[in-house]
């Protein structure tokens, strides 16, 4: 098959729309996952910092275990668990839940670092003014912490987008799976995969530029901290 015949399907508006639908789904899954992981990660981080031993141990156990497993395995596990538990989430919901279970563990460390980066002095001042633990957390610590957590959270979003491609294995009709459907029909794997790779690259590169811009302040410290906990 000659080159133009292989390239033609990728210049076809209908097929591009088909692939764009996959991109939309990828973005939806990634954003949904990050938002839910932020919630889950915050809960886990607070649990980890709690002075109540069983809670902090349980949270630490969850975080360390999930961080030491491939995202592929966690996704498959949660996917099957969802169905055995009879939760009507559909493929999309199961993938989002699976990725959330994974990314909550990673986000928890980001949140914890963020909380701990807030000057102890502020916490002590708040407490001496009569604010309780939860109140201090909610109105003093977390708002400032979240601003500092934005760059690593964007990095986590980039990782999440990469992980959504694994959803194709359980039948989620996202960008990679749709690309596979296209090249299996038209026998142009290298062209299609190159296009798909370019789209992912554009997305992730754009976000990484954003992360770096957000990191403009305190760059050196952030850099060293980031490299110490570098996850790929």
């Amino acid at each position: 098959m000659d080159f133009s015949a292989r390239l033609a399907p990728l210049l076809d508006a209908d097929i591009l729309r088909f692939l764009a639908g996959g991109l939309g789904l990828t973005l939806a899954v990634a954003l949904g996952t990050i938002v839910l992981s932020l919630l889950g990660g915050t809960v886990l981080a607070i649990g980890r910092l709690s002075s109540f031993r069983p809670v902090s141990l349980a949270a630490a156990g969850y975080i360390e275990t999930i961080r030491s497993l491939p995202s592929f395995l966690v996704l498959i596990y949660v996917y099957f668990a969802v169905y055995r538990a009879a939760l009507d989430l559909g493929t999309l919901g199961a993938v989002v839940l699976g990725l959330t279970v994974y990314h909550s563990a990673k986000t928890a460390e980001v949140v914890r670092a963020g909380i701990q980066s807030i000057d102890r002095g502020q916490v002590e001042a708040a407490r001496s003014l009569g604010l309780g633990f939860m109140q201090t957390l909610w109105s003093i610590v977390l708002p400032q912490a979240f601003r500092r957590m934005l760059p690593p959270l964007v990095s986590e979003l980039i990782l999440c987008i990469k992980n959504t491609s694994i959803g194709s294995i359980v039948g989620l009709n996202e960008l990679l799976r749709r690309g596979t459907i296209v090249y299996q029909q038209y026998f142009n794997p290298i062209e299609t995969l190159a296009l798909i790779a370019l789209v992912y690259w554009g997305l992730c590169f754009g976000l990484s530029v954003l992360a770096r811009r957000l990191e403009a302040t305190g760059a050196q410290q952030a850099e060293r901290a980031r490299l110490a906990t570098q996850e790929i």
Binding site: F72, I76, F80, I169, P189, L193, Y200, F205, S208, I232
Partner: protein
């Protein structure tokens, strides 16, 4: 699964586990030198090298490793190049991981005090000499924990080769599950294998990190 049934399954998973370890070792052995070279290239005053290094890092960091795997396994045959599954895994994961190694090395080199480089130059070391004897060893010592984390990342990413038919731990687990329908016991066992490999590595990295902090 009864005890009698569990043993043949365990050895089936063990075969996959061995392959996972071997694949991790090969990827680490290839990506560390490659990443170091790219990281050094990014730190040189030569613009062409810096640009090439930056292009490499910015490209491979932002493409999902699964896409790279598919590109080598399913894509290349489209132009007549067919590479065996395991080799595709090594190549794809090496290229991907090296980008992160390069970033760490670059940051490590940048973190070495400028004064040391100048002192070395004034003592008669050339640029490469200063790099080799003064800067690089310190840089590596500083980023060792990060490199350790990256290696842990390699272990996790090897699970993806199951999608291109390489009989690693994850692949064996999937096959076992489809045969026995014992979903949870199978995947829990697979998880335990990964934990047995990764948790000691994490403890090692934490120890390295503590040592680094004490030295800094």
């Amino acid at each position: 699964m009864t005890g009698a049934q569990a043993w043949p399954s365990l050895s089936f998973l063990l075969e996959g586990f061995r392959l996972t370890i071997w694949l991790t070792f090969l990827c680490a052995a290839c990506s560390l030198p490659l990443g170091a070279v790219v990281g050094i290239a990014r730190s040189t005053p030569v613009l062409a090298l810096r640009a090439a290094g930056t292009a490499y890092v910015e490209f491979f960091r932002n493409v999902p490793p699964l896409i790279l795997l598919f590109f080598f396994y399913f894509g290349l045959p489209g132009v007549g190049v067919t590479v065996e599954g395991f080799t595709c895994g090594v190549i794809a994961l090496t290229l991907y991981t090296a980008a992160f190694v390069a970033e760490s090395v670059r940051a490590g080199i940048a973190a070495v005090d400028r004064g040391q480089v100048e002192a070395a130059r004034s003592l008669g070391f050339g640029y490469l000499g200063a790099l080799r004897y003064v800067v690089f060893p310190q840089a590596v010592a500083m980023v060792l924990p990060a490199l350790g984390n990256i290696t842990i990342g390699i272990v996790k990413n090897t699970a993806l080769v199951a999608t291109i038919g390489v009989a690693d731990l994850m692949h064996q687990g999937e096959v076992l599950e489809s045969r026995t329908f014992a979903t949870f016991s199978t995947f829990t066992t697979v998880a335990l294998f990964y934990l047995a490999l990764i948790i000691p590595m994490s403890l090692g990295v934490n120890a390295l990190d503590r040592r680094r902090r004490r030295m800094a």
